[in-house]
């Protein structure tokens, strides 16, 4: 549906990346990590350290703190790999969920909240920056395109919550919008993103 919308000049045909097989590789790597296989853990590091660090930087901002959180997350992956259950979602999602939660733990603590008083979560800056990097440009392009297909309120709610690390009541406060509206817009927007990105 998204592909048929306007803004066609930004739509590039998506090369057939071996997404299925690469995500399965990662599942297999995590199984090996759970058995204490350090080589497998290095492979996981090489695959996911960039996404983990990028997400944490986007939420936390401060480079030194972000590095600390990224280190915690990667060690958490090592420590709890036996708890990964492929029937409940992909390995990438399992890892990135840990990363996002740790980043949020960091910024939602009281001290961090005071420090972030400038509260200009401007996640799309990060999105623009990474568009230059070859490996991420495809994902970023796709995400940007699909975010462009949302209403402004849907897009702002989702990016503030995810990239800004705000809870939905905080998002409602920042946008001066009713809680119920924000909940609905976030869900509607994510469903539209899911369909646009062809997530299976």
């Amino acid at each position: 549906m998204c592909m048929s919308r306007g803004d066609a000049r930004r739509v590039r045909p998506r090369p057939a990346r071996a997404e299925g097989s690469s995500s399965q590789d990662l599942d297999g790597l995590l199984v090996r990590v759970a058995r204490g296989d350090q080589a497998a853990f290095e492979a996981v590091y090489d695959r996911l350290a960039g996404p983990i660090y990028g997400l944490i930087r986007t939420v936390v901002r401060d480079p030194a703190q972000s590095e600390e959180v990224a280190q915690e997350v990667l060690l958490e992956v090592w420590r709890t790999a036996s708890r990964f259950d492929a029937s409940r979602g992909s390995a990438t999602t399992w890892v990135m969920t840990i990363a996002h939660r740790r980043a949020i733990d960091r910024v939602r603590s009281v001290a961090a909240a005071a420090e972030r008083e400038h509260k200009t979560a401007r996640p799309l800056i990060a999105l623009d920056e990474v568009a230059e990097s070859v490996e991420a440009s495809l994902d970023a392009e796709r995400v940007r395109h699909c975010l462009g297909g949302l209403t402004e309120l849907q897009r702002e709610s989702i990016t503030l919550a995810y990239y800004g690390g705000y809870s939905y009541p905080q998002v409602a406060g920042l946008l001066g919008t009713a809680l119920g509206t924000i909940k609905t817009r976030i869900r509607d927007g994510l469903i539209r993103l899911r369909d646009c990105m062809g997530v299976s």
């Binding site: 996404p51 990028g54 060690l75 420590r79 790999a81 994902d139 919550a161 809870s167 009541p169």
Partner: protein, 246 residues
Amino acid sequence: MRLGRHDLHILTGAYALNAVDGAERDRFEHHLRRCRPCAGEVRGLRETVTRLAMAVTMAPPAQLRQKVLAGAAVTRQLPPPVTRPGRPFPAGAAGRWLAAAAVVVVLAALIVLGIAQFRTRHQLDSAQAQNQAIATVLAAPDARIVTRAATSGGTATVIISRAQQKIVFTSAGLRALPAGKVYELWLIGPPRVRPAGLLPSPVAGTTAPMLASGLAAGDKVGVTVEPAGGTSLPTTTPILLMPLPA
């Protein structure tokens, strides 16, 4: 503040973004364990959210790799979760009600198999709650059993309680699906089609019993092949379409 089921379901999006905190998150997670469609939706939305994460990839500081690998070398890993032998459901109670006692025994075995698939304490607890609910359907005075072959091979068995407006669904020998595909269960009514959850991965060819609520008069039970995470409406021709006894 008391939230209705509808309000809770709307939280799938915010929850997938980790934007729900405290008591509300606890309440939603409690709901998720009972609402398979919600769990399926959360799974799909989480995969979507992961794309947002991958879009902001950034090269980490060079020293991080060494720190992490050194840390791993001195960090003990959690052991794998161990399955506890549980008391899956009161077969005696079910047996009193169901004339076809043999069927109950088969179902009890299926439920034990189902238990074997749950590996964490948390999963086990929710599985036990689920089994209680399943046992209640099996023990219903009006419970009826129907079995039907799927078009692509294998069979499905459904236990229906009209009084409880619930069904329990199990399958055996369904064709294995390629990665990224799942079987999704539907209640197909004259007015509308409702998703009733994703079939769990089979163990020895058999899927653990799953419960679907909200059965209405005229509903058929259907199964389709869908992308992982499921969909809100069927996108393929059902491999199983089962009319239910009135």
